[in-house]
C-alpha cells in the first residue's frame, strides 16, 4: 500500500504517464486507487499521431496494469521520506 499512499500525495499535480505501448500522456492527476489506476484531467499526448481522438478527450481513466512509468516533478517527491517509508514497509513485510 506504500505506493498507493505515495500516489495519493501526488493528486492535483502535473504528471506524465508512459504506457507500455510507448505513448506518453501528460495531465493533472485527479485520482488513484489501490490498483494504481489513474484518472487524469486536461490531458495532452506527446505522440498524438497514433490516437487522434485523444484531442477530444476531457478526462482519462488509465488502467494501472498498462502503465510503465509515471514521470513527476522532482520537487513533489521527498526522497528521504520515501526511502524511510520503503524500509519500514520492507521491515514489516519481512516480519510476517
Amino acid at each position: 500500500m506504500l505506493f498507493f499512499s505515495f500516489f495519493k500525495t501526488l493528486v492535483d499535480q502535473e504528471v506524465t504517464v508512459e504506457l507500455k505501448n510507448d505513448i506518453e500522456i501528460k495531465g493533472t492527476l485527479k485520482s488513484v486507487d489501490q490498483y494504481l489506476n489513474l484518472k487524469i484531467d486536461n490531458i495532452s499526448t506527446v505522440n498524438e499521431g497514433k490516437y487522434p481522438h485523444l484531442k477530444s478527450v476531457k478526462t482519462l481513466f488509465i488502467r494501472g496494469s498498462t502503465v510503465r512509468y509515471v514521470h513527476m516533478s522532482p520537487s513533489s517527491v521527498d526522497c528521504t521520506l520515501l526511502q524511510d517509508a520503503s524500509r519500514r514497509e520492507a521491515l514489516v513485510q519481512s516480519a510476517k
Binding site: 485520482s31 490531458i43 487522434p52 476531457k58
Partner: protein, 172 residues
Amino acid sequence: MSESPVTVQPSQEQQPQTKDPSAPNVEDLYLESYAFTTAAAIVGSVDRKVFVLLRDGRNLFGILRTFDQFANLVLQDVVERIYLNDESNTPKKFGETYKGVFMVRGENVVMLGELDIDKEDDHLYELEQIPFEVAEKELKIAHAKTIKDEKIKGKKLLEKGLINDFVKSDLY
C-alpha cells in the same frame, strides 16, 4: 431562554443547504465518500459518451452505462473505429462500424476517456473514410507485421541477455 438561539441556529444553517439547486453534483459526492477507488474515477462518466481502448488495439466509442471495481464495463451503441497510419505513424484513413452493446472485461481495458461531444469528430475531417472491412484487412496486415518485427527484436535482445516483454495479444 438563553439556550434557544443555540438550538435554532444549526437548523437554519442546514435548510438552505438541502434546498440549494447548485448542490455538489453526483461525481463530487461519490468522490467524497468513495475517495480513491475505481468507482470514484469512472462514476462521472456514466451515461456519457466515452472511448475505450482495449488491449488488442480496438477503439470503441459508446455510452458508458455501468462498471465495477475491476473496470468491467457495459457500453451502449458502440461504434468500433480503426485508424490506419502511414509510414510516419500519422493517421490517414479510418473505417468504422456499428457494434451495439458491449460488455468489456476489465483486464482488457487500457484506458477510458470521456469525450467532448462538440469536438469528437473534428479530427475525422482530416482523414479519409474507407469501408470497415477494408480497414480491418489492412489492420490485420499491420498487426502481422508488428508481431513479426517484435519476434525478431525479441530474438536479438535475447542474444544480448535481455527480455522483450511483448505479448501477441497486446497490440494497443
